[in-house]
């Protein structure tokens, strides 16, 4: 379900007045998916839980100023994504490994050097195989944090390029380039999955 598909919150006025029953309702309604988002971005269960807790703490303090220009769910989504990114920034200590090896190769004429295989199976059919689903999960997790983060924000959390660029404090052009490199690196990691021969042999 997209985070933007929810209907308007019926108890928003109670929430803004500081009604604890309304707050509890919001927590019970939203904590589950917020935890999933935070865990995905931080790639850590504990950090994910911390982010949700911090996000609700901020929400509790700032809900009175919520103007209703977005749905409550979209607003909470931004808050928890921001908390998760802050957690990543605090955690980031080491320089990341390069993904240049995962970029396509071209010859002197700019011709793509292959071979490239692709199975006819749809994404859904591929993911119905446990081994493939596991491979996709681990391939995303293995991406260097900078690339994993932008892939999650744009493709999974479905934030716009402008929103993503603002959150990551980069310009939109850099956000697009980074996203393309992230997708290309992930595609390279998934090449065995796309190879019909691999599917026949391994699965």
């Amino acid at each position: 379900m997209s985070v933007r598909e929810t209907s308007d919150c019926a108890y928003i006025d109670d929430l803004k007045r500081g009604d604890s029953a309304a707050f509890e309702k919001a927590v019970r309604e939203h904590a589950g998916w917020m935890l999933a988002v935070a865990r995905r971005i931080t790639n850590c269960n504990e950090d994910g839980a911390d982010c949700v807790q911090e996000a609700f703490s901020i929400a509790h303090q700032k809900i009175a100023g919520f103007e209703g220009r977005s749905t409550l769910k979209t607003w909470l989504h931004r808050v928890v994504v921001n908390q998760a990114l802050m957690k990543l920034r605090k955690r980031r200590r080491h320089p990341e490994e390069s993904i240049d090896d995962l970029m396509p190769d071209f010859d002197d004429n700019g011709f793509l050097i292959g071979p490239i295989q692709i199975t006819d199976e749809t994404a859904e059919e591929l993911l119905s195989k446990k081994e493939v689903a596991e491979k996709v999960r681990s391939a995303i997790d293995e991406l260097p944090e900078t690339y994993r983060t932008i892939l999650l924000l744009r493709d999974i959390e479905e934030l716009s390029t402008a929103e993503t660029a603002a959150l990551l404090e980069i310009d939109e052009g850099a956000a697009r380039t980074r996203l393309h490199r992230a997708r290309t690196a992930l595609k390279k990691k998934l090449e065995p999955v796309f190879d019909a021969k691999y599917l026949d042999d391994v699965l």
Partner: protein, 123 residues
């Protein structure tokens, strides 16, 4: 075999080879070099490398019409880039699907009761 028959056979073979090349200029290593040069220097064509640079713009529908035309013409002509672009789209789709499944799993199978209780102590 008469000289005329030999000539017809040679012409026919050359035409066949040319047609095959135009249909798929990258079908063998021998034709790849020609195919690469063809894309590099012929007006109205782009190289695979230029195609790669257009991918995200095409996907986000941000290319100008002439760039879209170049991109789509290259994709029709180059099976390698066609396959590569299909893989790109499939990669995005698989990422989306696997993560939305994870969200659903968390919501329905991993309801964080302790976390909810901790959060509720805020109020």
């Amino acid at each position: 075999m008469t000289e005329e028959t030999t000539h017809i056979k040679q012409t026919s073979a050359a035409t066949k080879a040319l047609r095959a090349l135009l249909r798929n200029p990258f079908s063998s290593p021998a034709t790849r070099k020609f195919g690469g040069l063809f894309l590099k220097y012929l007006p109205g064509q782009i190289t695979c490398q230029e195609f790669e640079n257009f991918v995200i713009g095409y996907h986000e529908n941000r290319l100008a019409q002439d760039q879209r035309d170049l991109f789509e013409r290259h994709m029709r002509l180059c099976p390698m880039c066609r396959t590569s672009f299909t893989g790109y789209l499939k990669t995005i789709e698989m990422g989306k699907k696997i993560c939305s499944k994870q969200t659903a799993d968390t919501i329905f199978a991993d309801a964080p009761r302790e976390l909810i209780e901790t959060i509720l102590k805020i109020t």
